[in-house]
């Protein structure tokens, strides 16, 4: 599989070497930006948020005449492709955007399973790619050597950081001494974050009294939850997706585990969680990328503009996609020249970007140094609680 990807990547690189001149520029000197989003398939809601946010930003930039690069304004043109939420289509669309549409940079894909293979193409073709939502550490690392990739960036934080943030919050703010964890052992995201939480919570002086697993698709958690109840924890960490967490909390309540606190990660942050079981979650906390009700002007401007354009509040994918786009714009202005190499250097050199999801800078890798937020669920809504700096 990876052999095939590398071969395809090499082929693309060869095509590029022979066939392209001014990459990223059309006839009228426009800036070409590719977007790979999950517009169909099981993550269609994620892809739609990403596309909406990037289109809104591009319109905003073009209304002011374009992005200023080296003393003149250039318009931004988007090339939006659907990857169907699949890894093979992500590879194919990345190749198309690079070789045929000759884009300057790519935003997306969002899911790690799509972003990781697309990143191999971008890296081999020496094209900047910024994934808004992928949090798997290996996205920005070379598969063989483990060294940082040169051309692959993201605008979100990575799983190990988030696991540490939640563990610290549980220890210090909630003053929990005994934690229990229930996680999906068959899913990379859940497993990774659960293990980091366990290590960080123990290092922080706490005790993990139960570390229970299940596999994707399980609906009955009564055995594990009874075990957790017997271990008498102060809180239960559920780093699982919003489709499963309501079942887990509901069954826990039925088993009489009602008085302990439940906490989670960014996988909780979907409006569907509130629609399905908002009442169950009253008073629980989770960590995520941004808070729509954060009182800072950039966030409020963004939320108002997004609501005016699309009629709904932006989720974390929309916020991260906006940051991905603005990071590229800031780097382009700093670069002063719209070519792929200069853009990469300027992006990697960003020392201060004030975004929707917080301040960030790049420190030698494609992963930004940035903060996370803790949200509290209150009366069927997500409320900003606190910001956790790295």
């Amino acid at each position: 599989m990876s052999g095939r990807v590398i071969m395809l990547a090499a082929l693309t690189a060869a095509l590029l070497a022979t066939g392209c001149g001014g990459e990223g520029e059309g006839k009228d000197n426009e800036i070409r930006i590719g977007v790979i989003a999950e517009l169909t398939g099981d993550l269609a809601a994620v892809g739609a948020s990403c596309r909406n946010a990037v289109e809104l930003e591009a319109r905003r930039v073009n209304e002011t005449g374009g992005i200023e690069i080296g003393g003149r304004k250039r318009r931004v043109r988007l090339f939006i492709e659907d990857n169907g939420g699949k890894s093979d289509q992500s590879v194919a669309t990345a190749q198309k955007l690079i070789a045929q549409d000759r884009v300057l940079a790519i935003i997306g894909p969002n899911a790690s399973r799509c972003a990781v293979p697309a990143a191999e193409i971008a890296e081999a073709s020496r094209v900047v790619m910024v994934s808004p939502w992928s949090t798997a550490p290996r996205l920005t690392l070379d598969a063989r050597t483990g060294a940082p990739k040169k051309y692959v960036f993201r605008s979100g934080f990575i799983d190990p950081f988030q696991g540490g943030v939640i563990a610290r919050f549980a220890r210090e703010t909630l003053a929990a001494g005994r934690a229990a964890v229930l996680y999906d052992v068959a899913s990379e995201y859940n497993k990774g974050i659960a293990e980091v939480f366990k290590a960080a919570f123990t290092t922080g002086g706490g005790e993990v009294v139960a570390f229970e697993t299940y596999t994707t698709g399980d609906k009955d958690f009564s055995a594990q939850l009874t075990k957790i109840k017997n271990a008498n924890p102060d809180l239960v960490f559920l780093p699982n997706y919003y489709t499963e967490v309501p079942l887990q909390v509901q069954q826990a309540h039925r088993l009489g585990l009602a008085k302990v606190a439940f906490i989670g990660g960014d996988s909780w942050g979907s409006p569907e969680l509130l629609q399905n079981a908002g009442g169950l979650f009253n008073g629980y906390y989770f960590s995520t990328h941004y808070a729509a009700d954060a009182p800072t002007p950039p966030v409020q401007e963004f939320v108002a503009a997004y609501k005016a354009a699309y009629g709904s509040a932006p989720d974390d994918v929309a916020a991260l996609s906006t940051d991905a786009f603005r990071l590229i714009m800031q780097a382009l202005t700093a670069a002063g020249r719209p070519d792929r190499e200069t853009l990469r250097a300027a992006l990697a050199g960003i020392q201060d970007y004030d975004g929707i999801t917080g301040r960030m800078r790049f420190n030698g890798t494609g992963d930004p140094v940035k903060s996370a937020v803790i949200l509290r669920i209150e009366n069927g809504a997500f409320r900003f609680h606190s910001r956790v700096e790295p």
Binding site: Y214, D220, A223, R254, G256, Q275
Partner: protein, 291 residues
Amino acid sequence: MTYLLQQLLNGLQLGSIYALIALGYTMVYGILQMINFAHGDLFMVGAFALFVAASVLGLPFVPSLLLAMIATAAIGVLIERLAYRPLRSAPRVSAIITALGVGLFLENLVNALSPYPKHVPTLLSNHSWVLAGVTISSIQIWIIVLAGILVLGLDLLVHRTKVGMAMRAISWDRTTAPLMGVPVNAVISLTFGIGAALGAAAGVFYALAYPIIDPYMGVMVGWKAFISAVVGGIGSIRGAVLGGLILGAVEILVAAFLPSTGRDLVAFALLLVLLVLRPHGILGRPRPVKA
């Protein structure tokens, strides 16, 4: 001790659901010697029928349950008439492939109508009682009691009524039964209908206990119920119930006393050992082969 009792109660809840589904497999096998692999998907259809009745039509619990059972029974009869009856004299493998095809058709049909997971509204108010240290919820009581009533009703139907006698007659000898005046096609249709209705009841209980439903929820549960039926002795009604309860208890107890990652691994390994020791299942008997 209370921990063990609590876990056994959890197992009884899960096992009751497996038992109800296993009955559908065992009834169809008993009468036609055919494995209806679409049965797990009828369980899913039952859960979605409950969703429509409760969420779209706004009906209370008992009418929703009856509507889901009747609608799914009708679909079960229709599937038998359209997909299985034309193949009744074809090689057995054709019928199995058809059943797999019908299952995939149902999954994708529901997926086309409702691509996102659905949340089933709360139909029964939920109370929990603590009895000698064991927490019992009203949902658990509903599931276990209603499943018990349905199983007893089925047992009475098969062993104490004329229709039941007709079913057993067809199961014993399908060629001779019509000569004795048994309306074979009608009885087979009825068997499919009852099996589907029990599957739908299981789907309803499942959706009450685990209220997020999706088009593929019947696949894994269906396999487990099928295994329950085989372990109990396929073709035997009491065997299906016993198999379901055993599988539910083994699954829960493995997760309770061993690392929960090994849940399915150990549960199925134990069942394999059981089948090696008793190839016809616990209550199954080798079929007499008539010369």
